[in-house]
Amino acid sequence: MSSLFASILNMSLTASYVALIVMLIRLVLRKVRAPLIFSYALWLPVLIRLVFPFSFEGPLSLIPGHFVPGYFQAASHPAAQSESAGISEKGVSDMDRGAVAAGDAVSSVPTLIRTAEPVSSAPSALDLAAFIWVLGMALLLLHTLLTYSKLKRGIRFSTLVKDRMFESDRIATPFVLGLFKPKIYIPTGLTAREQHIILLHEQVHIQRLDYIIKPLAFAVLIIHWFNPVVWLSYFLMIKDMEMSCDEKVMSKSGDDLRADYAKTLLAVASRQSGLFSPLSFGESNVTPRVKNILNFRRPVFWMTAVTTVIIAALTVILLMNPADRNAGSIVDEGDTADADKQAVMQLVEQFGNKLRDVSLTASKKQVEKLMHEHYGEYVTQELIGSWLEDQENAPGRLTSNPYPERIDISSVEKTSEDEYTVNGRIMEVAFNNIAATRPILLKVTRTGERWLIRHAELGPYEPAAHVITGKVTGHYTVYFDGLIPFWDMPAGVPIHNFILEVNGGGLFEVEPHDFERYDIGHTVSIRFFYTDFALYGEVAHISDDMVVVNQPGIPVYKAYAVTGDGYTAFD
């Protein structure tokens, strides 16, 4: 449900952007007094954007890079996070990956909010939002069904006037209803002239299939009910639909209908309640419609022709996505047109995603097999050969945790016609936290039709800087309120104090009042209290579920119990 909602959110966002552009174009069209059929037609790309998650790419897209579908993502698959942004619960990034890369000359750290996958299984904000979304849809649907059944009751015993026109004294305004055999319903007591004008109007609606388009658009509105831009679009679209229909009636008619038409409109001005209404002659936009009717002039042919072409082109452009799919990632957005560069970066990213699959601690034969299998597509045979000879300096996985999750690219430079030098960092991840990074320099060269990595230089591992820990689960982050079992310590053994070894940060002594011991089964477990001892002088803020660290703060990863006096339990 959450992932469905996330894709709806993405569509809503992209469509909103398109809708705002459409609204601007509408203003221009009004200024030049173009027929309203064009304004009406312009809503088509908005409708398509609201319904279809995919579109085609083109160079003329008016959508800014970070508006491409994929902005929102259900945070359900940790590996996917590196590829695109997710939304964070509090809007606070749990792990600021941008800052990790900030050590390099990255000029365009993305402003998108990213989140680390919470390890806990608690429902995320997105789940909650998805629930509210479904609830809202259900309520709107119910409202619509009630309105519809009320309407149906009003026309149950409507009586035939002529053709497909029926009258009833239980309705206040004329409308068209029915998907397959649309019928026109009018209130009783209208004059023959009024009936005739309404018939003309509704016949245009029926010809243009408006009686299908309107409920369809309303269904889409129900799906996107949380988006005010969609509401505005819906009402503007209906207004355009009605006013263009008025214009069509008048341009079709041989004589000047304006006065009678406006009078009829006023006579049946809508008194309808409820959000959903079928196509009705007396829609609520009576005043602008009367004005429009009275100002009606027959459109000039050449102007209609030119506008048609322009609107058709605009429709296509509004459906286009930007050609650069990576525009939302760390890549410099200004440089998106360069296809080679894109190909190189994609290659490096794909290669980065394979690092975890090559376990360097396997047997030599096994490593060879793994490298060919996983790197073969991205790396020259020569480079794989040299890595096999010197496994110390080969990229891959050393431990199950942390493991190399991806390569974050910090710079891409064209060093010759057929070669790019890519600088980046291998991100080593443990339990969704970045445990360490390792600089990597790659030379990517054009080989026939494709690109291959021909040279690689690996830097030393660096402890992660600026790590803000994720949600504490007690499962792996030992410095908060979790039980740490000491398997080798029999129950009942006296413990006087604790020493924590902070990864790369030295040793700290834990005061007796900072921990609590539990003798569970055969062994001892320790629970730490919230304290800043382990991160001495580096803690900015502690709350129930997170500790924010200013300086390089490193998760505790070893804890020692000390029995007796002094530091006898470790050497």
Binding site: R156, F157, S158, T159, L160, E167, S168, D169, T188
Partner: protein, 119 residues
């Protein structure tokens, strides 16, 4: 007597029965299809609805009315009189006669009716 309150469709329908009664219900539904654009089920629903209100009777597939045209007309005009003219007959007549000339014959008839009513 709300019983005589007929909506537009109901009035048209009862009108058909007044013209043809007693009438077979199948026969009636055929006329309704032609004149009102009603499906068979709509006609039968209407028969049931009006039978429940005591406007008509459906026995052995034969439909007859239980109210007369005069009763309905009386109810309608009284309602109108009450609603629009505060029950004042002279005011009603004054409005009605405002832009219209009566023929000699019509005037005679009215006079006669008034005399009868005041006796």
């Amino acid at each position: 007597m709300n019983q005589y309150k007929l909506f537009d469709a109901e009035f048209k329908f009862v009108n058909i029965i007044w013209e043809h009664e007693p009438i077979n219900s199948t026969e009636l539904s055929k006329i309704c299809l032609e004149r009102l654009g009603w499906k068979k089920s709509t006609t039968f629903n209407m028969i049931r609805k009006l039978a429940e209100r005591g406007i008509l009777k459906n026995e052995h597939a034969t439909v007859t009315t239980l109210v007369t045209r005069e009763q309905v007309q009386k109810y309608e005009s009284e309602t109108l009189l009450e609603k629009a003219f505060g029950g004042s007959l002279p005011m009603f007549l004054a409005t009605f006669l405002k832009d219209r000339k009566l023929t000699k014959k019509e005037a005679e008839e009215l006079k006669k009716m008034i005399e009868e009513a005041t006796q």
